[in-house]
């Protein structure tokens, strides 16, 4: 496979977007031709996936990285940013995830969105989303990466606000975009700073010269870019948009959470890992933020009653784990987790979508229950996804999570490792709770009895993803087995990421793995016991036992209220009055000064116009005399 095909990876979905968008916009009859729209959208992404697969198979690992330059994009002075793509193990791997999982989600959407008035719009945006994400992943230049970075933000905005008639959903979309923009602001400054230090934004140059950057500047750049990543990847402090982003159609949530957008932050850290390993302080902070996010989000996931919100907080928590992994220097493990998580989370979201679809839009898990009898396939796949996410061996999630936790232990961050372990436990608890409350027990709403399995076009992706959720982890066995010989993914990615090596003793690693397995099994057992017996009552019991803590989790640690009071209100409301004042008295005063002085001078001069003819004549005479005197004076 020729690397020259790389631009088509981005070009194909972009073409799909343009075709769907323009045809739908200008030709109303096209909007109702759902089959055509759906097939077009799916086929471009599928083609991109095949292309990526071809590149993956056809390019020997030794030839990577490759650089494919299209043309000069922005150039002025000594700044130049070409439209150029970088093919290396990392970007190729991410491309596979994005297009593969993305294609399945596209396929699922054909069924899910049937009959929707904005069908064409939806698929156009979905294609654009893939295109932007591929651009982000493949960009050889950080400014081009920023184009994709903002592009996925825009697409998430448009898709979250897909059902825009609902003001709340529209607001959720705006919130997602603006919060992302705050991160992007930091990212932008980081890029500026990086350019000032390095003199280029080409990845090759940046990574080469990273060592030459002065350490404080390097730390600042790392922090700023990381802040950008927290925006995209929904980490503390910028995670608040993600739970609200559930307002979009469920496949969109799957796309945002599994394959695109939120993984961008992790990708960025891995991409710039040679830069990050040079500033251990920043790495430590990243690990801390990741661990905290993982823990806090997991606690919040435990108390949600909306099926999609549980999954949303679960995503934040899992992303936290990935940041923890990246923070302790296990970048490839973090990317590995992106991979496994993509399958399980996409599967869970699509399964949730099927459930919501079957229950005619019901999303409250308190009004579900006993669905396993009506939707056996959905149940089976959902179960596999949940178990994989919970980290039950030998399903996919176990391997990647374990790789990150052992790295955390190995790097000497015992506390963070412990936090990760606790959030793993919480993960098993809320996944178990979700599974039980949705599929087991007695139906708690009449709609459940009418539930039925989704059409084949929606079932097929579920099966595909379930296979991934089971088997995706087998490409990265822990070092304990075969001393890393079976860790194919680690070797593949190590060309692109600068992992820190930790000499972890086999004993400790075995201990860590054993603890992980124990936690997974024990947590699931606990969850099934607790919610399987008491059902919803277990929630109430927890609420009684935990009291204030439970309320705190329910309120999301009141973060939104705190932000509102600390930042939004002082900035917006607080500034309004002084600004109005200055508009009125400073700016308005200056213009008033100008106009009033004109009127003042005018009224002064007006008084000279007495209308007295003889006075005018007198003044004329005086003037004539003056002129006469002037001429006489000159002639003297």
């Amino acid at each position: 496979m020729m690397p020259q095909w790389t631009p088509y990876l981005v070009g194909l979905p972009l073409l799909g977007f343009l075709l769907s968008g323009l045809l739908g916009l200008l030709w109303p009859r096209y909007r109702r031709w759902e089959i055509g729209i759906g097939v077009l959208a799916v086929s471009v992404v599928a083609l991109a996936f095949l292309l990526a697969l071809g590149l993956f198979v056809g390019l020997p690992q030794e030839e990577l990285p490759l650089r494919v330059v299209l043309y000069q994009w922005i150039a002025s002075g000594d700044f130049a940013a070409p439209i150029a793509f970088r093919l290396d193990t990392l970007s190729l791997w991410m491309t596979l995830i994005v297009t593969g999982v993305g294609a399945l989600i596209h396929l699922y959407s054909i069924g899910y969105m049937r009959g929707d008035a904005g069908y064409w719009r939806y698929f156009a945006y979905l294609n654009l989303f893939i295109a932007a994400m591929l651009l982000l992943v493949l960009a050889d230049n950080l400014l081009l990466l920023f184009l994709g970075w903002e592009g996925v933000g825009l697409c998430s905005y448009l898709l979250i606000g897909h059902w825009y008639a609902d003001r709340e959903k529209a607001f959720a979309a705006r919130k997602a975009f603006v919060v992302n923009r705050i991160g992007d602001f930091a990212f932008l400054i980081g890029l500026l700073w990086l350019f000032r230090e390095v003199g280029s934004l080409d990845l090759g140059v940046v990574l080469d010269r990273a060592g030459a950057i002065e350490s404080t500047a390097l730390g600042a750049i790392g922090m700023l870019l990381f802040l950008g990543a927290t925006g995209k990847s929904a980490q503390i402090p910028l995670y608040v948009w993600l739970p609200d982003a559930m307002a979009g159609p469920t496949p969109v949530s799957a796309l945002i959470h599994a394959a695109t957008m939120v993984t961008a932050g992790v990708y960025l850290l891995a991409r710039l890992s040679p830069l990050y390993v040079l500033s251990p302080g920043v790495l430590g902070l990243i690990a801390l933020i990741g661990a905290l996010t993982a823990l806090l989000a997991a606690t919040m996931a435990l108390v949600q009653t909306d099926i999609k919100k549980v999954l949303a907080y679960s995503t934040i928590s899992q992303l936290g784990l990935m940041f923890l992994g990246a923070g302790v220097g296990a970048f490839s493990a973090a990317i590995f987790h992106v991979f496994t998580h993509a399958f399980s989370k996409a599967l869970l979201f699509l399964g949730a979508g099927s459930v919501i679809h079957a229950l005619e839009g019901e999303q409250d898990i308190r009004r579900m229950g006993g669905l396993s009898r009506h939707m056996p396939l959905t149940y089976c796949t959902f179960l596999l996804g949940a178990l994989a996410l919970a980290g039950l061996p030998p399903l996919a999630g176990f391997f990647s999570k374990d790789m990150m936790l052992t790295a955390a232990l190995g790097s000497g961050h015992e506390v963070l490792w412990f936090l990760g372990l606790v959030s793993s436990l919480l993960t098993t608890l809320y996944m178990g709770r979700l599974l039980v409350l949705v599929f087991h027990g007695a139906p708690r709403a009449p709609a459940v009895s009418r539930a039925h399995e989704a059409p084949a076009v929606m079932r097929l992706p579920l099966v595909g993803l379930a296979v991934g959720a089971v088997a995706a982890g087998w490409i990265g066995w822990p070092d304990l087995l075969g001393h890393g010989a079976w860790n194919w993914i680690g070797r593949w990615l190590s060309d692109s990421t600068a992992d820190l090596e930790h000499g972890l003793s086999l004993g400790l690693e075995a201990l860590s793995i054993a603890l992980s397995v124990t936690v997974a099994v024990g947590g699931l057992w606990m969850a099934f016991r607790l919610w399987g017996r008491a059902g919803l009552e277990a929630d109430h019991m927890l609420q009684r036992r935990l009291g204030g803590l439970y309320a705190l989790w329910q309120s999301g640690y009141r973060v939104e209220a705190i932000y509102e009071r600390l930042f939004v209100r002082p900035l917006l409301q607080g500034s309004a009055a002084p600004l109005r004042w200055s508009e009125r008295y400073i700016a308005g005063g200056l213009i008033g000064l100008a106009s009033r002085s004109a009127f003042f001078i005018g009224s002064g001069i007006r008084r000279l116009q007495t209308g007295l003819l003889s006075l005018y004549a007198l003044v004329m005479l005086i003037g004539a005399l003056g002129l006469l005197a002037w001429f006489l004076w000159r002639s003297l």
Partner: protein
């Protein structure tokens, strides 16, 4: 001969001018004005500008002053309507300024005071009808035509102004 003519006419012109200013009744003013105009015509004669002297009598004394008199009669002002002098505040200043003007102009022409007129026949023939006619219908033909149009316009304008009530 010229000296006598100049002396008499200059004196009469000044008397006429003073009369115009001081006479209380505008009719008297107009009559003094006639005196002034006639004596100016005399002065023109003494300068060998015969054509202008005649025109002066016809246009100014004949037409303009008559027009003044017509208007005065037409308005039929009562004595108490007649505006007075304005000597109260600005009077002294005006007199002073006018004297200043005289002084200034006098200084300006100081160097010319003693100049005597050329006596060759060509110079004396400047004011003849022939010489003036050649100038008017030669070099100044355009100006002459324009003045004709101006008079027409003035005529129309004054008819319009006098006809309607003026708002």
């Amino acid at each position: 001969m010229q000296v006598v003519l100049f002396g008499i006419c200059a004196l009469l012109a000044i008397v006429g001018a003073v009369g115009v200013i001081t006479a209380r009744n505008p009719v008297y003013s107009a009559l003094f004005l006639v005196l002034n105009f006639f004596s100016l015509a005399g002065l023109y004669l003494s300068l060998e500008a015969q054509f202008l002297a005649v025109t002066q009598v016809i246009v100014y004394a004949g037409a303009i002053v008559v027009l003044f008199l017509f208007v005065i009669m037409l308005l039929n002002l009562r004595p108490e309507d007649l505006p007075r002098f304005r000597l109260d505040r600005t009077g002294p200043l005006v007199v002073l300024l006018s004297l200043g003007l005289l002084l200034g102009v006098g200084m300006g022409i100081w160097s010319l005071l003693g100049a005597s007129f050329p006596q060759d026949p060509q110079a004396q023939a400047v004011g003849t009808v022939e010489s003036l006619g050649r100038a008017l219908f030669g070099r100044y033909l355009v100006g002459f035509e324009v003045v004709a149009v101006l008079l027409l316009v003035a005529m129309i304008g004054s008819v319009m102004l006098a006809k309607r009530r003026f708002q």
